[in-house]
Symmetry: D2
């Protein structure tokens, strides 16, 4: 079976295993207080143009989201996000487990806007009994989003502006940041992200690393005691240098973005073929996740060779599936899939 | 100013203050382990026809909701409710504070149905990655609802049936149970409620008591160690007998329901007048909460004499307000309001 | 049976019931946003000599403790207290329920000192892996303490000084503050408490009120959004003015302190008799709680007429019990008890 | 510098990196639902002689402890452990973060006994106001302990017996289980552990793996929905098969235990040398962690070549340090250390 169901089906890029082997007989200081993590953090600070950024390394996305959000909020405050947001639907209530409501609002293409934030904020404070309502304090977005779409430069800038107007934090979940930034349609760069968020992370797990997410904290108010938060939430890796080594390797010469570009290009190739074959998209995005609507009969046939991620039933005979490429996807497999989409009769 | 903004603007029915005065020089055992609470619990067990019910007394609604829900759920489980549900919008994230997601789904007249439960349950378990999603385990409803509507007998029976089919608990928030049961349109009785919920409560605060909610636990699985839960959540009143005395006084001869009937009758009188004056309802319900749409200019004029609870803007010149009667509302005030609604030009 | 087991066995002082009756037909604004609460808060601000203090009213002690502590701490921080502290032993883990460790350290007469705080703080930060340890941030003390002892002026001043040196908050649980301040041995006054704590509360439940604790927040850092905290923790009473009325009545002419003085005087009378009869104290304190060691046989005999609170077994034939007086204790009952202690053979 | 400060200073055993390289171009199903995890779980079930055991793989120890404990307890229940227990002192309040008190009781050599459990249980239920106290429901122990000591067969059997008598769960933290079982003094075997605990884990991170802990659930009551718990607590590794591969490799031919034996043997060699040189032990244990008391001057000299973990000040001129060997420790380094201990003058 050829897997197109997600972007974390392979261990990691070969350069990372090679680095691990090279340093496997060294003794290193634990808990990310080592030189590898320091170097990776410096590399990230240079990349984003912010020497004052605090950089921390965690293992996975849910862990990172709940750690960042719980560190940022007081007990009565909540996180605002698109109703499609990962924290709202696919983290088993991890944020709520830390005591905070997740307030999902209707998305547009997986995104929310500055005006959404302004409206929610105005409604909260206009209500005479606002203390009876969880207080929106942090806005959570993902780039690329859970629907494979991306934030445009103007959208992010206005969103951050709205957050500052409203006294709220902006947190960008970058589990798939590489795929967003490498997209042909993207007009954002990582420096602009660093200037227009309070905290974001660079996702490793889904983009070439064995595991790991690099949290970048820009707002001083969010920096204090963050290592306690990581430890308390179970995210402090004993052999923390494994994280530093990976990010250093991925970022030092742009490998991270080249891997993402590869995935995006192949995904768009599939998108084009889907449209040409006369099928519709469930969501239209320029990154490595493609959401397509296929006849169930076609899905059944394709599923003999390929694994997709089922999304939802569209009507009696159609369903939406996610087709996902990754840094490791082989072009020959994509071409075979395209061929099958074209030639298999639904 | 005459208050129609809520049903908790007066201390309590005179018989309660009288009872307090009668026993004010007695020494009583604390924490609801006294004879007054035992007697009130017995009265409730008789009233509902369930000798096996566990009865506990708490001070207020938010406290009761978070205590019951947190006692019923394991960490990964969530509470399902109408998106208008009190726990979803007006409790400052109290349920989330105890670690659980509140999953709001679209309401119909403030209610959800058995088929809503069946659909959510089916969707959860159909999803291959269901463990990535908070597990729906408890259904929360209110009767009367936050929109003043009520559950019909058939609706409740099917809702409970659905919960049992799906392995879920049904919890009925009865903060305004009196007003529901006393309504002219009501076809439910409290015994049917006791047979078709796992746990519910009889609200005192909004229906004649100084404060207090009587939790009735029917399902054995929810009974164990409930007093620990009350204490941990800060709901164990030192002078717990004050709660027992109040419920005994309200329930022993039907005073509770007579008070509610009074409020419902006056509210319907207002509803009729509103419709006759050519205004629309924002929600149509047969209980003491009436949600009406008035021109802003009329609201401004009425607000010189009356207090309402503002709900939301409808259009540029109209808003919805809640007009609420209570056990203590004076008919002369209602008549004056009706007169003003009829005669004041918007 | 005559109850000496606690100080909350009677409803409330008669003046409070009288006030309730006087205003029972008035309509009042809910949730403590009324004029009674404003007036009581002003009275408290004058009493403590701090016009900048924020004053809030809650129903009970456990609720107050968890609300204040959870409002003050970030997720990784913990509350430090004597191992006898109420939050450590008698609140069913309510503080932990809000996510925070309670760090109990050995008490001296129910108290901890400034040097205890300095030592814990130094040890925390000396540890190279301090982020693996919950960070002490708030010191919780009670006055009078759980053993009936009181803080002396110098002790409190040094404790607060230590907290400021260490960047920690000082929170004084005043559930029995009246009994402490009214004690013959006391050299503290309420203004000094307000100058040497960040937040404290004046306990009503155990000292004349039907229920209620008045939280006084001195430190600006703890004031923001506190009403949200009260609501989220289930402590916002719908008919909040009941709290304002009670505190106004108790404090406006010193009734609160006269009631406490009465209880303390009677308790010391019992203490004296116990010592004269040749029995030992389990803890020696000058307030309304007396902890005495009696032969089990004497306890058995006394228990035919009186209710005490059992504390713990001392040896094969002796146990410690708490004998508690209150604002409502009748001197004739105390004299009868004293007589029985003297004359009943163990 | 030669590190003796902990047992997680090296990446992992070479066989693991080799296995990763072998399968690095394969596509594998995520979230531990793959064949590698299934195989490793089977291997563990065979090893412990319990076909009914549920086996799950997590990344690290704090994460595992909070996930298991929070899954096992209802809100009012607490975990009982030695006051030296890792969850009590070195996890930044992670268990409390999930809402539960950790009740530390005095340890003996890092251990607690069946009679400790019986006494705590009896005291809890003897107290008339037990619902005011967190209910002890789970006993947490570590083997080897935080002081390097081990549970003997009889001790564990009686502890489990006590837990069953008292209706409590027994959870064994096996972060260093290998070092315990490989110890020359050990008389326990893993099958006996599986028969005398409700849940335990086999630690990989500190014993040859890159990372990973294998949770083994024996008690059916703890099995349901455990994958939800892992996900919610942020412990579900996207590339979960990395965990399965590691445990399979370590356990399939006893490598895990040989690695541990190596470390224990070297640690005992150091212990012997320390005693022969006339120094005292801070704690006496037969495993890879040795706690010794050295003159500060000796520590200073040794610290020019070696890294230890500082424990605590003993007196004005002595301190306790932890000297830790691991599966990767080189005997030549141990011999050099021994030589320096013997020859360097304090």
């Amino acid at each position: 079976m050829i897997r197109f169901n997600n972007d974390y089906s392979e261990i990691c890029h070969e350069r990372i295993l090679k680095r691990f082997a090279e340093i496997s007989d060294m003794q290193v200081c634990g808990y990310s207080e080592d030189e590898y993590c320091k170097k990776a953090a410096d590399t990230i600070r240079k990349l984003i143009g912010r020497e004052d950024a605090a950089v921390h390394f965690l293992v996975g996305g849910t862990q990172t989201n709940m750690t960042v959000i719980s560190a940022a909020l007081r007990p009565h405050q909540c996180a605002l996000c698109a109703d499609t947001g990962h924290i709202n639907v696919h983290e088993t209530g991890a944020v709520e487990m830390t005591g905070h409501k997740v307030m999902g609002i209707p998305h547009k293409n997986g995104k929310i806007s500055g005006d959404d934030v302004r409206r929610v904020h105005a409604e909260h404070w206009a209500d005479g009994s606002h203390e009876h309502i969880a207080q929106p304090k942090l806005v959570y977005i993902s780039d690329s989003t859970e629907l494979g779409t991306i934030y445009k430069r103007d959208e992010l800038i206005d969103l951050y502006k709205a957050c500052k107007e409203c006294g709220m934090y902006l947190f960008l979940d970058g589990a798939r940041l590489g795929y967003a930034l490498a997209s042909a349609e993207n007009d954002l760069d990582i420096k602009t992200i660093a200037e227009n968020t309070d905290v974001f992370y660079i996702g490793g797990t889904k983009c070439g690393a064995m595991f790991g997410e690099a949290v970048v904290i820009l707002n001083d108010a969010l920096k204090e005691d963050f290592r306690y938060m990581i430890k308390q939430k179970g995210g402090m890796l004993a052999k923390g240098w494994l994280l530093g080594v990976q990010f250093e390797e991925l970022l030092k010469d742009g490998l991270y973005f080249r891997l993402a570009e590869h995935a995006d290009r192949l995904a768009l190739k599939i998108q084009k073929a889907v449209l040409e074959a006369g099928y519709e998209l469930y969501a239209e995005g320029p990154t490595n996740q493609q959401f397509v609507i296929f006849p169930d009969s076609l899905i059944a046939k394709l599923s003999e060779k390929y694994v997709f991620e089922y999304q939802k039933r569209i009507d009696d005979s159609h369903s939406a599936v996610r087709i996902c490429t990754s840094w490791a996807t082989k072009e020959e497999n994509v071409d075979m899939l395209i061929n099958d989409i074209k030639n298999l009769k639904a």
